[in-house]
């Protein structure tokens, strides 16, 4: 993953999608590792504004209109908000 990306327009505020296609947050902030060849290098994506999850750059498979992860949301403790509400509906018919 050394292809340059415009961090402000091409990464920040993008949808995060796990390896099974589940939407699990937005890229709320970035943690930079430093500057290489005059370009900032991303170390982590910060997802969630409260209870922020740190997603290591190694977990990112590709970036297009969304940030696609190599792993499932649960492995990184992403998507907990949806997980918390799901049981409320699970017992209802036709859910």
């Amino acid at each position: 993953m050394s292809r340059p990306i415009d961090l402000a327009l091409g990464l920040l505020d993008h949808q995060v999608v796990d390896c099974e296609g589940r939407r699990c947050g937005k890229v709320d902030d970035l943690e930079l590792a430093g500057v290489r060849d005059g370009r900032p290098v991303v170390a982590e994506l910060l997802v969630g504004r409260r209870r922020t999850v740190h997603v290591p750059w190694d977990a990112v498979a590709k970036v297009d209109s969304a940030v696609h992860l190599k792993v499932r949301a649960a492995e990184l403790r992403l998507g907990r908000g949806d997980d918390r509400v799901r049981p409320w509906f699970a017992r209802l018919p036709l859910s």
Partner: protein
Amino acid sequence: MGDLVFNAAAGAVFGYQLLWVVVVGVVGIITYSEMCGRVAAVSKRAVFDAVRERLGYKVGLVALVAAQIVNLMTLAAEVGGVAVVLRLLSGLPYRALIVLGVVVLVLVIWALPFEYLERIFGYVGLCLIVFAVAAVKLNPDWGAVARGFVPSAETGDLLLYCYFAVGLLGAAMTPYEVYFYSSGAVEEGWTPSDLRTNKANAIIGYGLGGFLSFALMISAGALLLPHGITPDFLGTVALMAQSPLGEIGLFLALIGMLFAVGGAALDVAFSGAYSLAQFFGWEWGKYRQPTGAPRFTLTWLVLFGLAGLVILTGVDPILVTEFSVIFSAVALPLTYVPILLVANDRAYMGSYANGKLGNVFGVVYLFVILVIAVAAVPLLLLTNLGQG
């Protein structure tokens, strides 16, 4: 509700003079929807994905809050409309029908797959075509109707004329329609090969809406204006079909209104849930089971509950409709501008970015939207809520 209320009221007060505004509004919503559909097909982003990316979290949050307030007002208006029509059909107490209406809508949306909902509300809502038959039967002065398509204002009350013009534009271009439309396009996995369908959908769908708007305004101009009646009640709108067509006309008008307004309630509630989910990155989708998109489902349920409570306070649904339309005109630039930016951005859109013609329309409508956004609230106050 916005279209029913503003078209009938504009016809009752100004006859056919404001027909041209409906044309401007319909071309506007076609332009805007086509752009949103194209952005969805090419870049896989729904409206509030684009809003969040382009405006960032803080400014985007302002757009989100504004959209949610307008959505809630609009949903309250639709829920109130459903209850009013149910009362006209059944004669049962209004408040009980508000609760019944909300409960039935929620249960139906919960239980039926979206494909069925779309067809039931869409096809039965087509009963509204009865207003086109009524318009013809009322034998309007077709020369005057034709002159209505040319902008002119023969009135002593220019402010009221402008208020109705803004209301008609706001009702024709309500933003929830494009949130819903673009989210559907993303969910159905549109690609650039669907762009012809996108264009056809926008033109036919909103064109039909425009046709019904003409019918309502012409009926009101032919029937209500000569009698000096203003449609302060939804029942008056239905009477426009009864007068020339009898009981069957009244019945078709009420059934058409019930399903069109009920369908709009569904669209508005989902639009609110789409915006919130897309802004915060939650799972969403109208084809998903409730457990597949839990917070999305929770959002539309809560919105229905809140809208029901607003209407249970006893506020007049017609008044809520007018407010919702005027405030949606105010909030329109907050979603239109980011979409215009994205639709122009070749990094997102490649060769599918707006062409010259698209940009001419885009910029002209940007101007229209900015003018009505600025003028909406002053006109609301100056005309004393359109009472003149």
